[in-house]
Subunit: 332 residues, 2 copies
DNA sequence: TTGTAGGCGTTATCAT
DNA sequence: ATGATAACGCCTACAA
């Protein structure tokens, strides 16, 4: 690889001048600029970004930490973030935290040691305190899908509680009163909030909570299967099933087919997230839209604005979920 | 951030010694090692990886280029690759090529300028020649899901042709003779090969090719929908539908439900890839397994061996597909 | 076993 | 507008 020095020699200028035309960080006479550019082309010169980073203390790379790299949810998130940064010549370095506090912490250290200019974090196990400490330590990061009051200005979230409310209200408005609920792991914040929204809707319609109609799943497909089996085995009476995410809803639908149970005639099912396989189910899944791509875009813009001082469209911190009505729910 | 220099001063040794304990690249007396480590801890020292890269000409980062970041297929691939490298302290820089030659080329340049030690490429638009040139230019890379004879030793592939053969043979063995085929874009190599396998199976069973039962889709869900509608509108007679990937199979199944068509009684459907939503469909999709995670792992090991000189398990260049029989196919 | 000193390829601060 | 020249933080012969 040619270096800036060789370019400068070929162009007959100093290497400082070459640097100037690369970054146009200072005026350069048109004639010299042309000479330099010609030299760069001739040598096929590409600036060494590592050296640039060392000298400028900027790496032009952004670290992304998500729980998993697979799965429809994170795929869309990453996709949007990458596109957004790529458009401005920046790179993403990606790591997975696997919902484990130790791995999350270690991943963050990992990304920091790579001199990332900023981090976009989707973490669920690390403590609020840790995050506050990170912020105090001068680490530039933005938090996705989690709200921590002390660093509210760095949080981009979905109103999970309202989403949970909408899902259950949707069932209630269809006339259902016996509504079973399949939650995610209750130690996860979004699971807790979605459930709170569920209770809120029930209260609003004067339906009292029935512990027998609650099941704590794992946000996985199998959790949905087990949930349905559990309710059936317990001989619970319910006409609607609210699932805290689409994976579990899919599992429940699969299990229902195996009973068999006619959907949505004998049971209405609603999911949460609107991941892209949600319309592969049969019947097509009614769900709550989680605008994950937009949230990813917003996180990227937060970084562009706060770290790279670029002017962008206005930032938005809270996104609103909404019902996507398809075929898996029906009036009773 | 503390530098190696500060550590050396605090420990009362030269900075070369500190470097040695960091990389243990030369013997260091136990006593000094302890002193240095104590100093590092006290200062919370973390080596600056950018400076390390510049000095050592190693970035400890691997560039990954895939067509898309979203979608079940690439998610699993990335997930496995990241895990494999992460375990040995290396990180991945990820870019998307969007099946476009220009973007693929640019992405490769992008990753190279980041001084990646190696690239793992899943490209479909860039020419064989370009890749050969890249290899000649001394770029360390391994190619996934594509075979280029001139650089065969860098290719890790699935036997797509055999997979196509297995899918259609499965239908033939179930007694089907009128088999419609939904292909991917024929300019893509895997689509072409899967189709070749299809023809091979037909020939083996003495079934002649029927152009009316061929439809070129786009590897997307909508392609499957359009395919089924196309065949039906053309009044084609067929009892089985072979789709070149699971997305299109899902689309076809959805469309079949809308007709409605009883599955698998009135129509058997098989997909290809065995992506993780393939059992969300109803009936659960019979498909061809594409061991994408294993392929990702193998690519990572290729890099570990050929670039980082690590000893790993033996490398494997060609993976074999196999039929995953679920509920969407049935004897006629 | 340890220290010295010269690079790695840029950026950035001075002069000129 | 352009050119020297010091950083940037670390690695690595080469010496000691």
């Amino acid at each position: 690889m040619a270096t800036i020095y060789e370019v400068s020699r070929l162009a007959g200028v100093s290497l400082a001048t070459v640097s100037r035309v690369i970054n146009n960080t200072a005026p350069v006479r048109e004639a010299t600029r042309v000479k330099v550019e010609a030299a760069m082309n001739e040598l096929g010169y590409r600036p060494n970004s590592v050296a640039q980073s060392l000298a400028s203390n900027r790496s032009n790379s952004i670290g992304i930490l998500v729980s998993e790299l697979s799965g429809p949810f994170y795929g869309e998130l990453l996709s949007r973030i990458e596109a957004e940064f790529r458009a401005v010549g920046k790179h993403v370095i990606i790591a997975a935290g696997h919902s484990d506090a130790e791995m999350e912490r270690e991943s963050i250290e990992f990304l920091r040691s790579r001199n990332c200019d900023a981090l976009i974090l989707h973490v669920e196990s690390v403590s609020d305190n840790y995050l506050r400490g990170l912020a105090d330590g001068g680490c530039a990061f933005v938090l996705i899908n989690r709200y921590v009051r002390a660093i509210a200005e760095r949080c981009i979230t979905l109103d999970n509680r309202h989403g949970g409310y909408l899902a259950t209200r949707h069932m209630l408005q269809l006339g259902h009163r016996e509504i079973a609920y399949v939650s995610g792991p209750m130690w996860k914040n979004d699971a807790k909030e979605r459930y709170a929204g569920h209770l809120e809707a029930l209260a609003e319609f004067g339906v009292s909570e029935n512990k027998a109609l609650f099941f704590e799943g794992d946000f996985q497909e199998t959790g949905g299967v087990r949930a349905l089996q559990h309710f059936l085995a317990a001989d619970a009476s319910f006409s609607a099933l609210v699932c805290a995410n689409d994976e579990m809803a899919s599992g429940a639908i699969t299990a229902a087919h195996d009973i068999p149970l006619e959907l949505p005639d004998q049971l209405s099912v609603i999911g949460f997230d609107n991941v892209n396989f949600s319309h592969y189910t049969y019947p097509k899944l009614t769900t709550i839209d989680y605008p994950i791509a937009e949230i990813g875009q917003m996180a990227a813009r937060w970084v562009l604005k706060n770290v790279y001082s670029q002017t962008t469209t206005e930032l938005k911190a809270i996104f609103e979920p909404r019902v996507i009505e398809r075929d898996s729910t029906q009036k009773i």
